[in-house]
Symmetry: C2
Amino acid sequence: MKIKVLSRTDLVEILELTKVIDGVEAVYKAKAEGNVAAWPLVEHHFGNGAVADIRSGGAFGDISIHGAKLLNNFPENAKNNLPVFTGVLMAFDSNTGLPMGIMDASYITSLRTGAAAAIGTAALARPDSKTLLLVGAGRQSIYLLGATLLKMPQIEKVLVADTFSPDNGIQYVQTIKERLKNELSVDCPSTKFEFAENLRDAASRSDIILTITRSTEPLIMKEWLKPGTHLSCIGADMVGKEEIDPEIFSIARSFADDAIQCCNVGEMEIPAKKGIISADSICGEIGEVLVGTKEGRVEASDITVFDATGLAALDLVTAKIALQMSKTKKIGTVVEI
Amino acid sequence: MKIKVLSRTDLVEILELTKVIDGVEAVYKAKAEGNVAAWPLVEHHFGNGAVADIRSGGAFGDISIHGAKLLNNFPENAKNNLPVFTGVLMAFDSNTGLPMGIMDASYITSLRTGAAAAIGTAALARPDSKTLLLVGAGRQSIYLLGATLLKMPQIEKVLVADTFSPDNGIQYVQTIKERLKNELSVDCPSTKFEFAENLRDAASRSDIILTITRSTEPLIMKEWLKPGTHLSCIGADMVGKEEIDPEIFSIARSFADDAIQCCNVGEMEIPAKKGIISADSICGEIGEVLVGTKEGRVEASDITVFDATGLAALDLVTAKIALQMSKTKKIGTVVEI
């Protein structure tokens, strides 16, 4: 049996962020229609900060793909000049069970996470939003920013905060416009990028806040927010991670990518443990907003929150797009398995 | 990053059953020493009898490998001349998280399952066992038989029962000696193979019973067994499957590959639900017998049972052996990921 193998280099060449956004949106909608499965998440800690996590599941119906991805994060590798963050995804046709492809999982994870943040933001933020605060200027942040600017071209100003490394944040705003264009084909000549020295001040000036850090304590406090703010919280995807004040959930209309998973390992984990929210008490899942079975933002003054913890189906739909593009562009390696 | 891809054809060429037996034994021992992880098992039913299952985990310490395999069983594929049983395994170095290889998972599953049955049997059966009853003559059975004959060359007679298709059983005994030699390099010129027309009679004459069927009801009853019989139950690996009378567990010394998993999805599932046994009340795990921390068979007259549901670490150690052999024999395809 022949399958396609796609390397990270192949994926960078063939995947377009706009197509990934469409795919992720289709999966969110399929989830609201009962056509997405998220199977038990695996997380293993090796010591020395090293973690492996496995997400598996599928999107059925029209999409019809299932599989698993395993990501490794081994921080100590940096000392030995080895890649810290690696992963592999395997995808199968859900009509036949036959393997479709094997590919690097790290780039796909980055793109689909960016797409997820952008879709949640576009669905819940005020349409007249002009100022976006990006909290976190690490490896992953460019994908959130690029996808959100594609979905919301009305954004005029981006404030960038990096509480872990302000120097990195300062450098980031100097190069990000060029990087968005070169790395993601996102051209935003008139958007202004500013380093946010004072996080409280920046948060209180923003219509949209995207969080993408490895924080384990709140960075954004409830009393800093102006009415009508939307927050997409993306960094918290494992037990113990937290980016925003749990009390924000007591006043916000809150949405999850997967209600149960978010209350177990997402930004909702700690508020859920504190009894502020539960999988049943939140307003709904983002897919329900997209298909119209749940109401997203009701008033312009609502505070809205989108918590995304990641679903294998998002990776898999991105893998499917990559496999289709790899045929068109004749890229990748065909191997016998 | 470069990784090795091994096809089923490659694996058939490079994997030797004796080496797989050694690897599986090493993993069982590592498990008893706390160096094996079995992560949550995933099982998804698609309808039309199609199932996908994912096993993931790792063996650490000296072995140092982790990963996942996804197996698909799509019976309807047969109608369309497509393979029914397919799967892919991905293996990672647990010291660095870096991917080591991707390979077909179906042949590895077959070999390591055969090895598991043989190791449990050799550890628990009476050393003077002469007659073996093989219940089930399907695709998987040759691996159990081959591995057990390697581990227990003292076996003189093999009785083969196929309650689902007696005709298949009759044909099986005519060709199995040749197949063992050709497919698995197991040469047993003096072993006698007989079709077992009457299962009760065959069971009551046997020292060892291996079950490897898709049965969901008991095939072997308690009152059929003579004192001193050992049973290795391999077929039951999902909820609802059952091959032997639950009451056998009330009189037997019972051992699991993984106590909790066996009580959830193995031959022990139904006895556990009936309150006959529990993960705490069984005599131990097979690895504990192998390292000597738990006593296996005590008396020659004991009835012993080994229930194996399969651990990802067994597949992974087999994958590691395959990757080592593929270097020596210069087999497989190196790809960029």
